[in-house]
């Protein structure tokens, strides 16, 4: 079944923004303690969790803006895979028991975004359309 050519890219952008927001709050919680999550209180920035927080803060912001969506999503997909196998997988094979379902779903959503791009509502699309404008103008 072919994707709807008008609405599928638009909803892809909406999905990208929501995923970015979900990720951004983890970055904020780990590095700045807001929203206050007990588990992430007083994390040193250079711990494993702190560095993950930096990925989530910067990557989440880039995804929300839709700037460098593909490379950012590719790196985040790897981060989520690492998070799943370091933090969750040792506890149980099943994500529902190891509480890794979010990491798995995020990992594959990012992997998809790294191939599909950010959709029309993104800075990437804005920059691309500006870049495409130039040859048209020179043609007159």
């Amino acid at each position: 079944m072919e994707p709807s050519t008008v609405w599928a890219p638009r909803v892809l952008s909406v999905l990208r923004i929501v995923v970015g927001l979900v990720l951004l709050q983890y970055g904020l919680a780990k590095l700045f303690g807001w929203p206050a999550v007990k588990m992430f209180q007083d994390l040193p920035w250079l711990s494993l969790f702190g560095i993950a927080g930096m990925f989530e803060l910067i990557g989440g912001t880039l995804l929300i803006l839709g700037l460098f969506t593909r490379p950012a999503a590719f790196i985040l997909s790897g981060e989520m895979a690492a998070a799943y196998f370091i933090e969750h997988f040792p506890r149980s094979f099943f994500p529902i028991q190891s509480e890794g379902d979010l990491a798995v779903t995020l990992c594959f959503t990012f992997l998809y975004l790294s191939f599909a791009g950010g959709g029309p509502l993104s800075l990437d699309a804005l920059l691309l359309s500006k870049a495409n404008l130039r040859p048209d103008m020179s043609r007159g």
């Binding site: 079944m1 994707p3 599928a8 994500p95 529902i96 779903t105």
Partner: protein, 132 residues
């Protein structure tokens, strides 16, 4: 930007995302209805309770979504279902998903919403049925 989705890799990845999201949802259904994988929170769930009905939707929807049969209508129902789950079970605890435990429900909701518009991709029963 619409040409990006038409690349073969993009469409295959769409199917991979569908399969893993479906499997991830399915285990919530099997945990509630069949008690496997054993989850303390979902032991002894009555099928006719709200959680049990949610489990039925997750079980049937998860199977259909994983194999990619009737993907668009199933995704539409699951998107609404996860939105209800978010607002009933999680939103009252805190505004922030990271504090109310609802980020998975929120993420599911928008992934399913995307599949309503994007369809199942090439690796699906829908695609096989269309080819015939």
């Amino acid at each position: 930007m619409n040409s990006i989705l038409a690349t073969p890799y993009g469409l295959s990845l769409l199917s991979i995302l569908r399969i893993f999201t479906g499997l991830s949802l399915l285990q919530h259904g099997t945990a509630k209805i069949l008690g496997f994988p054993a989850t303390p929170m979902f032991s002894n769930v009555q099928i006719t309770s709200l959680t049990g009905l949610g489990g039925l939707i997750e079980l049937v929807g998860g199977i259909l979504f994983t194999i990619g049969l009737f993907t668009r209508p199933v995704a539409f129902i699951l998107s609404g279902f996860t939105a209800v789950a978010y607002f009933m079970a999680h939103a009252s605890k805190s505004f922030f998903p990271v504090l109310n435990g609802g980020e998975l429900a929120a993420l599911y909701c928008f992934v399913f919403l995307y599949f309503v518009f994007a369809g199942a991709g090439p690796w699906s029963v829908d695609a096989i049925r269309e080819r015939k």
